[in-house]
């Protein structure tokens, strides 16, 4: 059983839901990235999503666009992120997936990408501009490997697509809570709970909900219906706010801890 499946199985035994924390790798430097992964694990995060920066992030709002730009300015590259996970594996076994756009992966070479990821202990990939229809080359390379390609569902997905995606995704289903781009919002979209229930009725894969989640109260409401809560922009914002603070890592950890408590309740 791979780390992601094991995580969901353990959580299920304890009747708990997963908190999945996203931030862009290399934003504020790769050393900070390592510290955040360790800190987040200690503060209750269940799965880490490391963003791979891209010049043209069409599914992202201003917060993640800026963090992606900052990381690229520091020269962060896909291979650095993969080997960073390799280094982290000496210290932690928390599930780590990469989230990034397809072009850098295509340029790296899909087969080489999967093989380097597996070698370094990366557990999977989430690629917002790669729907199942176009994923042939990558899923073929991942076949038989211990590596999850995680696909999305959205409020506009038809029942036919729900069935297809739940058949193809591995690890979990990433449910986008709203029609839109990433970014913290103060309220949850109406009807998200009904959609999650519909997906769960159709699929036996864990369903995790992301986009727009920023407050413990929202995390609590999501974890009441879904198997996991994904928070990204709000964490990046906390990093921006605290980046010149002496307790940079701790302070962001405090925020993440509140989200974890709300999710795990």
């Amino acid at each position: 059983m791979n780390r992601i499946d094991k995580k969901f199985s353990d959580l299920r035994k304890n009747g708990r839901k997963a908190l999945i924390a996203f931030f862009t790798a290399g934003d504020f430097g790769l050393t900070a990235t390592k510290k955040f992964v360790i800190e987040f694990e200690q503060r209750g995060v269940d799965i880490i999503e490391l963003g791979v920066p891209f010049s043209d992030p069409v599914a992202d709002g201003p917060t993640i666009q800026s963090s992606s730009e900052r990381s690229l300015k520091r020269g962060t590259r896909l291979k650095d992120i993969i080997s960073l996970v390799g280094q982290l594996r000496k210290k932690t076994q928390i599930p780590i997936v990469l989230m990034g756009y397809y072009n850098p992966i295509l340029k790296y070479g899909p087969a080489r990408f999967i093989s380097d990821c597996v070698k370094n202990g990366v557990d999977g990939a989430i690629i917002p501009d790669l729907p199942p229809e176009e994923s042939g080359e990558l899923t073929a390379a991942a076949k038989g490997r211990n590596f999850d390609i995680i696909f999305f569902l959205s409020p506009t997905s038809s029942l036919k697509r729900i069935k297809m995606v739940s058949g193809m995704t591995r690890g979990f289903i990433y449910y986008v809570s709203l029609t839109g781009i990433t970014g913290a919002r103060s309220s949850l979209p109406a009807g998200f709970a009904a959609r999650v229930k519909l997906i769960k009725k159709t699929s036996d894969k864990p369903v995790c909900v992301g986009f727009g989640v920023s407050m413990p109260e929202q995390a609590k409401r999501i974890s009441a219906v879904a198997d996991g809560v994904i928070v990204g922009s709000a964490i990046v914002k906390q990093m921006e706010k605290n980046s010149s603070n002496k307790k940079f890592v701790k302070n962001v950890g405090n925020y993440v801890h509140k989200l974890a408590e709300a999710t795990h309740q």
């Binding site: 891209f54 010049s55 043209d56 992030p57 069409v58 599914a59 709002g61 666009q65 690229l72 590259r77 896909l78 756009y101 397809y102 072009n103 850098p104 992966i105 295509l106 340029k107 790296y108 917002p128 501009d129 790669l130 729907p131 229809e133 176009e134 696909f151 999305f152 569902l153 959205s154 409020p155 506009t156 997905s157 038809s158 697509r161 995606v165 986008v176 029609t179 839109g180 781009i181």
Partner: protein
Amino acid sequence: MKLPDKKGHFGVFGGKYVPETLMAALEELEAEYSAAKNNRRFAEKFRYYLEAYAGRPSGLYFAEKLTKTLKGPKIYLKREDLLHTGSHKINNTLGQGLLTVRMGKKRIIAETGAGQHGVATATVAALFDLDCEVFMGEEDIRRQALNVFRMKLLGAKVTPVTSGSKTLKDAMNETMRDWVTNVRATHYCIGSVAGPHPFPMMVRDFQSVIGKETRRQILKAEGRLPDYLIACVGGGSNSMGLFYDFLDDRKVNFIGVEAAGKGLNTGLHAATLEKGDIGVLHGSKSYLLQDDFGQIKIAHSVSAGLDYPGVGPEHSFFKDAGRAKYVSATDTEALEAFRLLSETEGIIPALESSHAIAYLIKAAKKMKKSDLAVVCLSGRGDKDVDMVSQVLADKI
């Protein structure tokens, strides 16, 4: 075999590389377009607007003085510059505007570089009572002030894009973000043969009227098909529109002219097919200007309409299949062509179209005098006069 295939692929190119939220909208559009295509009333309506509103057919003009000056092939100009709104872009926006109405969507959005597609979209939005928002890079807003005013006059909201290079690429990112947010009631009117399936196919079909007319007109004038079809390529809609009807006429040579900017070896150009390699951007797989790590490079061209690091997937297919040849012209060469056509024929071409003329200036002597060359004059140069006057002022 007719391309694209069912999944929108032209060989290895094309496809639908978009977020899940947009997949339903693309499926809807595909179904709606395929129904409309086979609907006689839709075809009649489209033709009516092309003729009575946009001014088709556009003329095929024998450029006798330019022919004499260049001492090469016999040159014909396909006068898309004479259409309503000043460029070929109206062919596509009328088609997509009618589709938007058919789908019952009330809002239409578009990206624009030179502003020609933005103006053409704002125009059909006014005509068909649609709310319209056009995303335009801040840098292009500066370069194309006249078109910005035209869009506003037509009732469109023009939203400046300040991210990245502040040009067409970033305007397209921002339009995708709006679409993903408002997808249920909004149609994204892509202005080129680019983007996810079905756009490259649909825009090609709407623009193919250029080539269909050209065939009829050249047969009437010369009794035979042309040897060369020459057009500029940014995303590639006017060139695809001119080429497509001649696809099976193997003796008709297709020449696409990209923007070489300050020179192909300076890194400051937009010659995607000549200098790029295969990647995925804005919904499809195609040639791209990118670095070794798959980050998209910033394109450069004096012409805002060609200033784009990607290109339509079918052009990528044509390149690899050897069906079309892709060449380039620099900023300087395009400006020279801009002046030459104005002086010899009394026609001020758009800077984009000037690239096609510029290539002909270079290549004319290698062609035979008995050859026939058709150049797509995709747009008129009024919008560029202000900027060109700053560059050429001391030379005129």
